[in-house]
């Protein structure tokens, strides 16, 4: 009975590997109790960023891993969500109404924009989509920094949230297990719930008949069309859906940071991060997004310090020191990215699953021997 329930919640897409199940459980519990297990402002920020990125990356994987098309405009929709919250809060005040207004309007804009891009560029060839999204995202980024009356330009927008979510709201005098019960904590759990729900929704989408069609298109577009599925329609729906999730992720980020600017949500570096996380975690698995996001963000937040140490230690050789400088973080990311696409295309989740499958097969063979 219990496995039945678990099956329902996970949409019949169980981890299928003992280690992966343990890893996911650890991530779930770690994020659920992050404020209590990892005290400190930085740790909580990392945890919140992980929550946002799980949604962002899982929604990108719907496109890249399940449908087999590459979009470079995913951060554009991420940015639209973040700017929606920020602009509405700045211009109409720190109320729940303005949050809702910004959220709904940004979702609407995302819907229209992604529908337009999808219908336009997926009609012809999938490879157009990659190029056209790149162009549109670049244009949007320029536009966002130029419309400074609205977006605050390069400086971005700082804004206030409704009082309930602000750190100065205390729900109880007594801290619980050493953690103050304030609006910040509530905000974290709001993000946590939103991320968990969206994660399960995405799991449902990719394991639905719709998701199966997407995978069929990924494997063989021509055959899917021949069976009678309108490839353009499915691809467009998939890109719209993934854009909407990205938009929600952007709203989550803005709510957490109470700030938004081009570098926090629109920059191409974030797009690169998302690509890398998808590849590390494993393309074509929603779980990969969770595993990859945790690995990547923890590394990003703490390994950069390590890089700084290495750079300082190698002062004697200026060339090496320049290569190891934390400012060149992206160089190492790029190398890691290329190497993982070559040698590690199924990512962590794919590896764990194929190991488990191999072990099961050997065990079965051993059992069959009389």
């Amino acid at each position: 009975m219990r496995t039945h329930l678990l099956n329902r919640v996970l949409s019949n897409d169980l981890p299928r590997s003992r280690w992966l199940a343990l890893l996911l459980l650890a991530i779930l519990l770690g994020l659920a109790f992050a404020p209590f297990i990892f005290p400190g402002v930085k740790a909580l920020s990392v945890a919140a960023k992980i929550l946002v990125f799980i949604v962002l990356v899982a929604s990108f994987d719907l496109l890249l891993g399940y449908t087999g098309i590459v979009s470079f405009a995913h951060t554009m929709f991420f940015g639209i969500g973040a700017y929606g919250i920020a602009i509405a809060s700045v211009h109409t005040g720190a109320t729940w109404g303005s949050l809702g207004l910004g959220f709904v309007l940004s979702l609407l804009l995302t819907l229209l924009l992604s529908l337009a891009i999808g219908l336009f560029s997926l009609r012809v060839r999938a490879i157009f989509f990659a190029m056209i999204t790149l162009a549109v995202a670049a244009a949007f980024q320029t536009l966002a920094s130029q419309l400074s009356e609205w977006t605050g330009g390069e400086d971005g927008l700082s804004f206030k949230l409704p009082a309930l979510l602000s750190p100065s709201t205390e729900f109880s005098q007594e801290p619980l297990w050493g953690v103050a019960l304030d609006g910040r904590l509530l905000c974290y759990y709001l993000l946590f719930t939103a991320a968990l729900l969206q994660f399960l929704m995405l799991l449902r989408v990719v394991n639905s008949p719709f998701g199966r069609v997407l995978q069929a298109i990924r494997e063989n577009e021509f055959r899917a069309e021949a069976i009678g599925y309108r490839v353009v329609v499915y691809r467009t729906l998939s890109s719209v859906l993934s854009a909407l999730f990205a938009c929600v992720a952007g709203a989550m980020l803005a709510i957490w940071l109470r700030y938004n600017g081009p570098d926090t949500s629109l920059s191409f570096e974030i797009m690169m991060d998302v690509l890398l996380i998808v590849v590390i975690g494993g393309m074509g698995t929603v779980y990969g997004a969770a595993v990859g996001a945790v690995l990547f963000l923890v590394a990003q937040s703490y390994l950069q310090d390590l890089l700084r140490l290495a750079s300082d230690a190698s002062q004697a050789w200026p060339a090496v020191s320049a290569l190891l400088s934390p400012d060149r973080w992206l160089l190492w990311l790029g190398l890691l990215f290329v190497l993982s696409v070559y040698y590690f295309p199924t990512g962590v989740v794919g590896r764990l699953r194929s190991w488990a499958a191999l072990r099961n097969a050997t065990a079965q063979k051993a059992a069959n021997v009389p």
Binding site: L64, G68, V70, F120, R123, V124, A126, I127, F128, A130, M131, I132, L134, A135, V136, A138, A139, T142, L143, Q146, L147, F268, M272, L275, V279, A322, L323, D327, R328, L330, L331, L333, G334, L335, F337, V338, V341, Y342, P345
Partner: protein, 330 residues
Amino acid sequence: MKGLNFSAIDTRPLWLVPVLALVALPAVGSLDTWLTLTVAGLAMGMIIFIMASGLTLVFGLMDVLNFGHGVFIALGAFVATSVLGGMGDWTHSRELWRNLLAVLAAMGVAMAVASAVGLAFERFIVRPVYGQHLKQILITMGGMIIGEELIKVIWGPLQIALPLPEAMRGSLIWGEASIEKYRLMAVVVGLCVFVLQAWTLSQTKVGLLIRAGVQDREMVEALGYKIRRLFVGVFVVGSGLAGLGGVMWGLYQQNVTPQMGAQVNVLIFIVIIMGGLGSTGGALIGALLVGLMANYTGFLMPKLALFSNIALMAAVLLWRPQGVYPVANR
């Protein structure tokens, strides 16, 4: 001319360029400003064409879309800063021939370096994922990031000025319109590259093989030609041309940044989609359209410059979904 049958060329797309220029005339208002903008747009278009032609041929030949093409552009421009910086006596001279020699030297070195890096890029980045579109996009994008960061390691992350040599500065005044000398020069160089390329493609055996390969790769292979080798050659030449374009773009903008490759890449993609992936003639038309559009809207509505090019692309694709000159089998 042997091999070039003009009656077979579809002339309708050729009209797009003058039509766009004429449509812009009433919007700009003054004839002199319009002339200045048009020359600037044609110059920009020719530079973009130099950079885009290699990319579109690489795609046409082997179905490889190189998202890292921008690296060669930035590389060429940065090499030019070093070469021109080192030839201070020649660039500060007021004699045109010394300036020209310095610029030619910069172009030569930039092309050589970009070609060499292109060879390595093809071997290590493109070849292992040959035939897999998805991985190709990802890997070449990764290659782009790595290249950009390496440029930052070598030349520093900041913008570097790339001033024009003395004698090439200034403009020719013609009535009220001022036409910068360098822009005229860019048009001339671009035309030279186009003519040379068109001649190679239409009159030589290598060109014949390249065109045949774009049309039907398997058939050319079946006739016993090694299309792989041809492809590597085209890739290297395309990278070199990107390097050349980078030098010219840097001199056009008078400064270079490590991010310029990624920025120009966006324009190039618009160009080759508009022209029809694989078609050099289409790339020329697309590049001229993009150059003109960028200059007209840069003057009329600066904030929408990039969007206007995307709108232009959308309009062209609504007319011809495969680009102005669709390539067979693609």
